[in-house]
Symmetry: C2
Subunit: 267 residues, 2 copies
Amino acid sequence: MTSDQLPAENTKTESGRLENPRPIGATPAFSPLYRQIKDLILQSLQSGEWRPGEVIPSEMDLAVRYRVSQGTVRKAIDELAAENLLLRRQGKGTFVATHAEQRVQYRFLHLRPDHGELAAELPATRDIIDCKRLRAPASIARLLDLRSGDSVLQVSRVLSFAGRPTILEDLWLPATPFKGLTAERLREYRGPMYALFETEFGVRMVRAEEKIRAVLPDPEQAGLLKIDLATPLLSVERVAYTYNDLPMELRRGLYLTDSHHYRNDLN
Amino acid sequence: MTSDQLPAENTKTESGRLENPRPIGATPAFSPLYRQIKDLILQSLQSGEWRPGEVIPSEMDLAVRYRVSQGTVRKAIDELAAENLLLRRQGKGTFVATHAEQRVQYRFLHLRPDHGELAAELPATRDIIDCKRLRAPASIARLLDLRSGDSVLQVSRVLSFAGRPTILEDLWLPATPFKGLTAERLREYRGPMYALFETEFGVRMVRAEEKIRAVLPDPEQAGLLKIDLATPLLSVERVAYTYNDLPMELRRGLYLTDSHHYRNDLN
DNA sequence: CAGTGGTCTAGACCACTGG
DNA sequence: CAGTGGTCTAGACCACTGC
């Protein structure tokens, strides 16, 4: 077997086995081939070689490209599909996941109506209250891995379901990757905000962490949600991450839960 | 190939292929072999042939038993492991998951301290207030797939972390499978309640669904949690299921979230 | 009908555990 | 060292999609 045209990552021994390319440090922490392939695919996703919604090359093509068997590529893709980064469709191909997909729209929104389907209430009315640029206070900067004082965009909005104000949200985004985002563009756009982030700014949110509390609104919040000061609300703080565990959005939401609830499935 | 000693589920054709044993109805909804094997393993788990914490037979043994290749057994086990029903340990074997495992204890409890580790606060103080037998009201019966009026056990308890009452919970359990459960046994037992359910009643909770709201306490609840009536609380309603999607527990919890939060990871 | 993902097999070898 | 799960391969065939 020759090894002249191989990608930089791996070279084969004469037995056909692969050498592990990272004997760094004391514990190399053995990384199987399929995981290395997974990382290569991940790099192509990050770099934008394959964009949200597009097909990626077939398993056979990738097997040839990476010089491994189809089964190994398959296992790499399996993991990426399990993480919702890729979407397999039998007979058609493997696609880069996107928040614009009809089937997975509002994937991160766990609020559900007590009766009936969420789909019946979507798309919700979205009132953008505000979109301004400011210096990140320490508390915001820390969660976004920025230096305090770095420039961030702050968006405020109210979501209404069936005419009833239900969610009051504040968002903070690092200003650099989202340069050019304005209240107008947010108002014009049809579809989930994360879909807009993908198409307009090339930022794909991959996972998120939420911290949930029960709180009472302050007078301003109560006014925007048209509730009184004694109405308890869910406080949902979300940090959303793009590839490489890079935090790209902080969102603080207040959810009115008298006709909706936050749903969670435990496994 | 002979097909005389095969388990009832599948017989091989001469080509080595397997016949699909369920051409029932209009759309047989093709079920691959590994999924049939998965169901067989699931049956052995339900029947108690392999109990929580025990090793199951090796992949090779199961392959022989079911007359399929190791790879097919492997794929079945992969799915069961992904659903947290089985636990693989390289070099040791595959084990039936259990809530008594140190590593996965309190798997369904998403409350976390704002600062520090949950482990530092465990085990919490658990005060069993009450454990009584009663006729299920319609609202409870419906969620537990019982007839209203069926006998259920109701348990009330308060969990305290670092000396502070933090969770007030009511549980409802169908009386039949939990016959013999008393406040005393709950008080004596060290470890998670779901572990007690496994060892004492052979009921393993496999998954759960939670509905979360923000509420204010009534005077009785406020007294038990030692808070005032204006302190908002998380209301967490959980239905826990055993094998076969059979609901076996309804739990209504009130979580105090001034120094804790409910954590959720979105993928 | 060709192309894609999905299933299944058989066999080789690797990494990890415990006696 | 034997036994377990974990990786990798090569090849065959199946189910689904769209031309």
